[in-house]
Amino acid sequence: NAGVTQTPKFRVLKTGQSMTLLCAQDMNHEYMYWYRQDPGMGLRLIHYSVGEGTTAKGEVPDGYNVSRLKKQNFLLGLESAAPSQTSVYFCASSFSGTFFNEQFFGPGTRLTVL
């Protein structure tokens, strides 16, 4: 049982390049989330998904797109990377959106945009 895994762990991009971050969970969780963590800002929700085939915007969605084609995977895409997107990205999942949904987090992806 691997929990929540993220690929890659580190990445350096040049401004304007694109990339996709992959999140996978093996706990059969319905809800999945993408956050970014910046110093002094805590975690901010980018996008989330309440089930396969559904996605919704979070607090800071601009510049990002997501897809949830399979229940176990949640992809985060950057179409044209900007230096402001330099951050640590965390994926999380939870069993459902009701009261017992503590989240399980992946180890993070450290992204640097030059």
Binding site: M41, L43, L45, V50, A92, F99, F105, P107, G108
Partner: protein, 115 residues
């Protein structure tokens, strides 16, 4: 709008002393409150939660938190701190939005336990 405030960026405590990490919230309706811990270069780990019932909630690693509705607070506590408790602590509140439940996190408090 829902919000969570952690008024202290850093808390320093000596090993063996009690510790408190503060959290206040603002949410319409009943709050669902959580504490998470993050060790360096790791993802967040769940510590405890308040959903309903007893205002004192016990969690992992000897931590507990007290829900105070009148003060809209959910402070994290531990009777005797360990050096290994040094980490970043996040308070979070879950709120309902169009049938979904969206988490909002505080900015985090760095706990430093001195030997």
């Amino acid at each position: 709008a829902q919000s969570v405030a952690q008024p202290e960026d850093q808390v320093n405590v000596a090993e063996g002393n009690p510790l408190t990490v503060k959290c206040t919230y603002s949410v319409s309706g009943n709050p669902y409150l959580f504490w998470y811990v993050q060790y360096p270069n790791r993802g967040l780990q769940f510590l405890l939660k308040y959903i309903t019932g007893d205002n004192l909630v016990k969690g992992s690693y000897g931590f507990e938190a007290e829900f105070n509705k009148s003060q809209t607070s959910f402070h994290l506590k531990k009777p005797s701190a360990l050096v290994s408790d040094s980490a970043l602590y996040f308070c979070a509140v879950i709120h309902a939005s169009g049938g979904s439940y969206i988490p909002t996190f505080g900015r985090g408090t760095s706990l430093i336990v001195h030997p």
